[in-house]
């Protein structure tokens, strides 16, 4: 949420504004706590059962995950541009499209990953589906929010949705080393 946007806020209602912001950050840290617990569980199970971890990793599509990462950080770039006040409408739509392409790539990956992982009946495979599926749901939902904000953009809404979008970027960048790399 940048300074230029803050200057554009309605200064007649500062208390309501800070209340919304507090709720936003409570939401963000709640999400981070949930993802942190899931990633911690994945790390722990991976340490306890390296064979299962290697089997799960063998089924994952790393190149596609790399391309999906590039798409997601690109959409973060467009969200940042929108939050900085550059052509909010176009940049919000571009960010949402990036999110939807990310979801498309994940669906392509799921079509060959999930049948193999489901056949394993391993807790790590279930945890993988939970973490990546939960993140996928977030991307899809917030991409919809980006389009909704693009329909009627206000500086406060753009700043809020961009902050959540960056959180989703951040979570994916942490999922990558824990789940896919190594």
């Amino acid at each position: 949420m940048n300074v230029a946007l803050r200057e554009g806020l309605d200064t007649t209602q500062p208390e309501a504004g800070s209340g919304i912001e507090l709720l936003l950050w409570i939401l963000i840290w709640s999400e981070l706590a949930v993802f942190g617990a899931l990633l911690g569980a994945f790390l722990l199970l991976g340490m306890l059962d390296p064979a299962a971890l290697a089997a799960v990793r063998g089924e994952l599509d790393l190149p596609l995950a790399g391309i999906a990462t590039a798409i997601l950080v690109s959409s973060g770039f467009f969200a940042a541009r929108a939050a900085s006040g550059w052509q909010p409408l176009g940049n919000l739509i571009a960010a949402a499209l990036g999110g939807l392409i990310f979801c498309g790539l994940k669906i392509v990956a799921f079509t060959h990953e999930l049948p193999a992982l489901a056949a394993m009946e391993a807790r790590l495979a279930e945890l993988y589906m939970l973490i990546v599926g939960f993140h996928f749901a977030h991307v899809l939902f917030v991409a919809g929010l980006l389009l909704l904000v693009a329909w009627r953009p206000t500086p406060r809404h753009i700043a809020g949705v961009a902050t959540i979008w960056h959180l989703i970027d951040l979570v994916w960048l942490l999922i990558l080393p824990v789940v896919y790399l190594g």
Partner: protein, 89 residues
Amino acid sequence: MRSSRALPLPAILICLFVATGLSLVAVSVLPAEFRGAAIAALSLTKAMLVVLGFMRLQRESVALAGALIGYAALICLLAGARIALSGIS
């Protein structure tokens, strides 16, 4: 803490691409001990680029930016340690 010398957004995006590419190369090229440290460092760099470069949160709240980076650092450190330890046994 406002900085007039913030990195331009396209430069941050390019750095994110490079760090992502290097992470993928590290997976296939480096031995486990070095791979863990390299992936942890690159992942933390990407997280910092998002927080400081895209969100520019340090301008609004240094504490919040620090907390987010600290959170990312903890997870990257644990991921790097797990990768490195898997090569020792």
